[in-house]
Amino acid sequence: MTKPKISTDWMAGCSGCHMSLLDIDERLLEIAELTDIRATPITDLKEPDESGVDVGILEGGINNSSNEEVAHRMRSRCKILVAFGDCAVFGGVPALRNMCGTEEALKRAYVEAESNDDQGFIPSDPELAVMSNVRALHEVVPVDLHVPGCPPDPDVIYYVLKELAEGRMPEIKDEKLHWH
């Protein structure tokens, strides 16, 4: 049996879930043994193989057209898609801006923020991704497994990776189920 290929990426999140992933410490070696770790934000390869991977893991909510692209690309190239952490699962902290609307949030950050001078303006370069309401991953593409947590506990991450590596679907319940 060939080792399952795993690829990860991050979107509108804080990268804390990936930090928590690194917190599985020496067990990373075990996962690296059991799987073929492909593109991740912390490896050199930046995009999941066009030929496809077995497991795609996405951190963060979907906040703009760029995130959408990342989500669709991962979905189209992986067999099992994992929503990794509260932002991917629910929208999380970035989604709180939905309460006031994107325009308001941008104005607050780029124009009204205390650290800005009076020249502050909202960036409008056409090259920039188009912003949207923040959405959970499953609102944009179908998701196979939700691993909530802010961030998910390293032990839960290890359990999930180990199960996936060995060809089983993890069951997130009881002491493994925490939304933050």
Partner: protein
């Protein structure tokens, strides 16, 4: 009895039991959210839906009474799916993002319910509407964004405190919890009892004092008794690292979880400066000294002025401390004066009547629960003994009548059916006037004294209107279970005539007879009754005595401070700095209520043990220990048998100890 089957298990329950409670009694768990064991079932959240054979649709177990032959299923795949949908809808309604909520991580019933259903995500996303957050209240915050509209807070406000401040506005998904007519909570009729916070299943109502200081799992809970007043409500003291995080009502005590502002919030809002070391006046200045030196200095002084000693104790002290105090100063030192800070104002008069009659004249607090007419005399239950006021207020919508006799403005005036505002100090005449009407109209329930005062002369004294008095008399006479609740406004006068007239009135209206005692005084502080039983009820009159004041953690009244302003020698046993410690010659630092265990005897004679929840800073001693240390230095043996000391005289209410 009713027989039913739940999940294949044969169950027998009493008639009127809901399916939910039938399941609970038999260890079958049905998930709930809006249900609270101490509130009336509401049936709002739809999480407790069960399948009942023969019923077209699932039914809410919390409101469905069990009936004979019922066959109930609580855990079918269809019900699991339904619970998942119910929770999804709840999450989608508001902002239930957990990471920044204070109850997330164990204390949120909504989150726990989702975990129980193994929900890893919300199938429906929130609707992103902002709901109001009310931060105007000094003790808690209402965040409608976290509210699931279970109405527990609204039910608690009505059923626990009888205050009816909380309600809802709008309908459907736009529904929000509001105070009064949608005014900020801090400016509403809220009495800050905090029952709403205690029952809230989510983070919609969180109390400011304990927020983010730890989850329930991090806290140690000590079951104790509130020392705020003589009602002695049961409390749970939640502590962490020797720090009191919060106080909640004990559902298993008589108060069934209800507390007032004093018990729940004020006890943790201490602003006074703590005394941490014994102090001695040296060259006009209070200076820190050792316990040994402080005790030796005061012992020398008290030994020298033996016939000129007076002693005053706070009625907040434990029964043990009060008894030791009495034994030390009355029996040991034969002090010229020995009394309490209350000087018997809330207790002496009725104690005297009980003594004369040789039997208890008062009844128990639970008589209030069933009373259909309450006569309130000389006490404002919105400023003291608030929980007794809650017991009355919560029954008013059920038709319980309220008559108030109070020459002063009373916080409950607006709720009363009849307000009698007599001339101050004429209570006896008011009672006689009511009695006269009852007798004249032939409504008396007991043998009538021939020599009653005439209505006309009584009215002339109290200056009340004949119609009001007649209405009150008829209302009282018509009641099936009337009760008279009275307080310091009546007893502080020290007029035995008023008390006798009140006892007579209680008999005439049938409030008190051989089976039922519908007469109740709220008394004063925590151990007011115990102090009365120990005879600490005299008026304090001091001139040139050496005075020992055991204040404990009590507040020092202006009245007491001014009485002791000029005494030649003053020893103060206290937890906090006050006007008294400022002018004291010796100050002995002692524990506060939460730092020492001890018994309290509440207004209805129920003896309860209050357990220490935290330990005192080093160098501070317990009230009993300090009194015993003083006794040792003075060479006096104190009697430890406080139970015997309490039963030396007739109690105004039957003791349960």
């Amino acid at each position: 009895m009713v027989n039913l089957t739940i999940n294949g298990k044969q169950i027998e329950v009493t008639e009127g039991t809901t399916v939910l409670n039938a399941a609970r009694q038999n260890g079958i768990k049905i998930p709930t959210l809006c249900d609270h064991p101490h509130l009336t079932p509401y049936g709002g959240c739809r999480l407790c839906m069960v399948e009942i054979k023969g019923m077209r649709v699932p039914m809410a177990a919390c409101t469905m009474p069990a009936s004979n032959g019922m066959i109930v299923e609580t855990d079918t795949p269809a019900l699991k799916k339904s619970r998942n949908v119910v929770l999804s809808l709840l999450f989608s309604e508001r902002n239930h993002f957990c990471p920044f909520c204070q109850v997330s991580g164990g204390d949120c019933e909504l989150q726990n319910a989702a975990y129980d259903e193994e929900m890893t995500h919300w199938p429906m996303q929130p609707q992103w509407t902002n709901f109001p957050v009310d931060t105007s209240h000094p003790y808690f915050i209402l965040d409608n964004n976290r509210c699931i509209l279970c109405r527990r807070c609204i039910r608690a406000c009505a059923e626990m405190s009888g205050n009816f401040t909380l309600g809802v506005e709008e309908r459907g998904a736009a529904t929000v919890v509001i105070a009064d007519t949608n005014v900020p909570l801090g400016q509403s009729t809220c009495v800050s009892c905090g029952s709403c916070v205690q029952v809230c299943p989510t983070g919609a109502l969180i109390d400011r004092q304990s927020t983010y200081l730890g989850h329930e799992k991090n806290l140690t809970v000590t079951r104790s008794i509130c020392r705020g007043c003589s009602l002695g409500c049961g409390i749970l003291v939640h502590t962490r690292d020797n720090h009191i995080v919060k106080i909640t009502g004990d559902y298993e005590n008589e108060n069934a979880g209800t507390l007032c502002k004093t018990g729940r919030f004020l006890a943790l809002n201490e602003q006074r400066t703590r005394l941490t070391t014994p102090l001695k006046r040296v060259a006009g200045q209070l200076t820190a000294t050792s316990w040994d030196d402080a005790l030796a200095t005061l012992a020398e002084k008290f030994s020298a002025s033996k016939d000129k000693v007076a002693a005053v104790a706070s009625t907040r002290l434990s029964v043990e401390a009060l008894s030791t105090f009495k034994s030390l100063f009355a029996d040991g030192l034969q002090a010229k004066q020995i009394t309490s800070v209350e000087e018997g104002r809330p207790t002496a008069l009725q104690s005297m009547v009980a003594d004369q009659l040789g039997e208890a004249i008062e009844g128990k607090l639970d008589t209030l629960r069933t009373a259909d007419c309450v006569l309130l005399v000389g006490v404002d239950l919105t400023t003291t003994h608030e929980v007794a006021g809650f017991y009355i207020k919560r029954n008013l919508p059920k038709g319980t009548r309220l008559i108030i006799i109070d020459p002063n403005e009373n916080g409950m005036d607006g709720l009363a059916n009849i307000n009698l505002k007599p001339r101050a100090g004429t209570d006896a005449a008011v009672f006689s006037a009511i009695e006269a009407v009852i007798v004249k109209e032939g409504l008396a329930r007991s043998a009538v004294d021939e020599n009653i005062v005439s209505l006309k002369s009584a009215l002339a004294v109290c200056e009340l209107n004949v119609q009001d008095v007649t209405d009150a008399a008829r209302m009282l006479a018509e009641a099936v279970a009337p009760i008279i609740v009275y307080g310091k406004g009546l007893t502080a006068s020290g007029n035995p005539g008023a008390m006798e007239a009140l006892v007579r009135l209680a008999n005439v209206i049938g409030a008190s007879d051989s089976e039922r005692k519908g007469l109740l005084s709220v008394k004063g502080e925590s151990n007011s009754l115990a102090a009365a039983l120990l005879g600490l009820v005299d008026q304090l009159e001091v001139k040139d005595e050496a005075v020992y004041v055991a204040v404990g953690d009590d507040f020092v009244s202006k009245r007491l401070a001014s009485k002791l302003e000029k005494v030649p020698y003053l020893v103060v046993q206290a937890s906090y700095e006050s006007a008294l410690t400022e002018r004291a010659d010796i100050v002995l630092p002692v524990n506060i209520w939460a730092e020492e265990s001890g018994y309290v005897l509440n207004a209805e004679g129920r003896l309860q043990f209050a357990s220490a929840a935290v330990t005192a800073p080093e160098g501070i001693r317990s009230n009993v220990d300090v009194l015993k240390d003083v006794a040792r230095k003075l060479g006096v043996t104190v009697n430890d048998d406080w139970r015997a000391a309490l039963t030396k005289r007739t109690s105004v209410v039957e003791l349960e100890m």
